[in-house]
């Protein structure tokens, strides 16, 4: 695990630039202070102040489209990062016992403090090579079938299940269709509804449609502050509705895909705060927030009987939907 430097200049988002500029100035000041042996403590503190204020200003007024770009940030922590920072004794398990091992969804045994859990999630890569290996986090049916196999094992041995969601969607490919992408996701939706152990889901990056939902039927559904969850990508939506993928910013507004929107609509239970500057600037602090949230929800869910867990999960999704009736 590499420590994160503030605002990696290689992957700077547009709206992060003013902050990066200030960081540069701080560096310059430090240099002058060192070479000239001048005490610049006061100036530096003022600059740090300015930076944190600016970050706060920028991050409190992000547009949905800017949030999309944070959710997709190439340096955004991945499921494996979170597993390493939140859990211990992780043992990765492989394969769906039908066809293969999908590297776009990983999972296995892990301990959350003293609790044995089954953890799993979509796995994106950090560079092109990794992304090709992980198919950019877009799973084939094997991935969903492996996830379900692990969930059923967790149920058998009475271990809670924790899933991390971060995918642009299930892979739309020839092999995926032939091997039943639709069936694999559908089965997960149905069978996850019947798991008699606690299921906690967190959307950490992109929650892309059915490919996300395929491992996201939980008693608790959490979202990181700058993650997104949507029935279609803003680009896909724009190209269908406006016949122009470039109008994705507009589509992002329309789709109401942010954590705040979903909390308001009753789709999620909690927003897990990200450190100022977003998860990609501080893996550790993000992981700590997630861990605290997991522990809290797990404590609550542990008190429920298996039948209450089933009822809790069914009722949660049962009431979703808005319509008129006379």
């Amino acid at each position: 695990m590499k420590e994160q430097t503030p605002l990696d200049p290689k992957n700077l988002l547009d709206f992060e630039k003013p902050v990066a500029e200030l960081y540069k100035k701080v560096e310059a000041l430090k240099k002058t202070a060192k070479t000239g042996d001048i005490d610049m403590g006061g100036e530096l503190a003022a600059m740090e102040d300015r930076i944190s204020k600016l970050k706060k200003d920028i991050f409190s007024t992000l547009t949905p489209n800017q949030i999309v770009s944070i959710a997709r940030h190439p340096r955004r922590p991945t499921t494996l990062d979170y597993i390493n920072l939140i859990f211990h004794d992780f043992v990765e398990l492989h394969g769906d016992r039908c066809y293969g091992d999908d590297k776009a969804i990983i999972g296995g045994f892990a301990k959350l403090e003293d609790t044995h859990c089954m953890v799993m999630g979509h796995q994106k890569g950090k560079n092109t090579k990794e992304n090709i290996e992980r198919n950019f986090g877009s799973a084939h049916p094997e991935g969903y079938r492996k996830a379900l196999r692990l969930m059923k094992m967790a149920e058998k041995f009475n271990r809670p299940i924790i899933t991390f969601v971060d995918t642009m969607g299930a892979y739309p490919g020839l092999g995926a269709e032939e091997r039943g992408q639709a069936e694999a996701i559908a089965r997960n939706l149905r069978d996850m509804m019947q798991l008699s152990v606690p299921v906690i889901v967190i959307i950490t990056g992109e929650g892309g449609s059915g490919g996300a939902l395929g491992i996201a039927v939980g008693n608790r559904v959490l979202m990181l502050e700058y993650s997104i969850y949507s029935v279609i990508s803003p680009e896909g939506c724009a190209s269908i509705l406006f016949r122009d993928a470039k109008r994705s910013a507009e589509a992002a507004e329309n789709l109401k895909l942010t954590a705040k929107d979903h909390l308001k609509l009753g789709i999620i239970d909690e927003i897990v705060k990200e450190p100022s500057g977003g998860a990609h600037n501080d893996y550790r602090a993000t992981a700590e927030n997630i861990k605290a949230s997991f522990l809290k929800h797990l404590e609550e869910l542990k008190k429920l009987s298996p039948s209450d867990l089933l009822k809790d999960r069914y009722d949660k999704f049962r009431k979703m939907g808005q319509f008129e009736e006379s």
Binding site: G173, G180, R190, D191, G210, G214, N254, I267
Partner: protein, 285 residues
């Protein structure tokens, strides 16, 4: 060709395989078959269950036509007839969602993309849901999700089998995340139906894709497809764009899905009712 047309932009033709079917103009006397181009007298077509007498191309059926075709005469009593969609997100694309709903209501005289209710098939009591592609491409929003869920819950109460006839492009974008959640909701209801040991027969007709195929449509104890129906998760065009290669002939068509183990069999419309009765009989109903 007149000279002026030389300069007009022509839309690239989509290969015949995936050509979207235009809706029938009601009241027209003659219909042209989309597949063999034969001109058919519309009354003959209707008598033949909307199957082309020459090439046996299966035209799309409306939800009401499907129910009339499957159920015993006058046995149907519908559920939730007043439920209609609501624009709770203020969704606006080229038109307001609110306006789109009203336009489709006027055009189709339906309130949404599914008709649900109970009735009998050769005396066997069943709950039936029939989707309607003519209402916003059969897309699933809150209304479709809720009506199907309620119908399944009704069946559990009545202890009768469920038959869902799907035809849909997938989730309804205008209801965004809420339409995605309908996938989990309907699948959850089917889990309860299975727990009650009641049969669910899924009939997949042309087309069944996206969020509908990735939820209730693929979850039948038996999945039955109509001949030639396009069935899949992603649409063929999206797949072609993603993998940048031509798709094999017949890809994602009903017969292809039988070959790949995704549906139990393909059945012609004329034999559908008898087949359903046989299956229901085997299930003990």
């Amino acid at each position: 060709m007149p000279l002026s047309e030389w300069f007009s932009k022509k839309k690239p033709k989509i290969s015949g395989e995936y050509k979207a079917e235009k809706l029938d103009v009601p009241g027209s006397l003659w219909v042209k078959c989309y597949k063999c181009k034969e001109t058919i007298y519309s009354k003959d077509l209707e008598k033949n269950l909307k199957v082309c007498p020459k090439c046996s191309y299966h035209f799309k059926l409306s939800g009401k036509e499907r129910i009339a075709m499957l159920l015993d005469e006058a046995s149907f009593s519908p559920y939730d007839i007043s439920m209609r969609s609501k624009d709770f997100l203020n969704f606006f694309d080229t038109a307001k969602y609110e306006q789109r709903i009203r336009d489709y209501e006027a055009k189709t005289s339906l309130l949404d993309a599914v008709v649900t209710g109970e009735g009998t098939i050769k005396g066997k009591h069943v709950v039936v849901c029939a989707m309607d592609f003519s209402f916003m491409g059969g897309s699933m929003g809150s209304v479709v999700g809720e009506k199907i869920t309620r119908a399944v819950e009704k069946a559990i109460g009545l202890k009768v089998p469920v038959i869902i006839c799907s035809t849909s492009g997938g989730a309804r974008m205008q209801e965004s995340i809420m339409s995605l959640m309908q996938m989990a909701k309907t699948s959850g209801a089917l889990a309860k139906l299975a727990e009650a040991k009641l049969p669910y027969i899924s009939l997949l007709s042309d087309p069944t894709t996206g969020g509908v195929s990735a939820s209730f449509a693929m979850l039948g104890d038996i999945n039955i497809a109509e001949p030639g129906a396009l069935i899949g998760f992603a649409g063929p065009r999206v797949i072609e764009q993603t993998i940048r290669q031509k798709l094999p002939p017949g890809f994602q068509r009903a017969e292809y899905l039988v070959d790949h183990g995704m549906v139990d069999f393909v059945v012609e419309r004329s034999k559908l009712k008898d087949t359903l009765v046989k299956c229901l009989d085997w299930f003990g109903f």
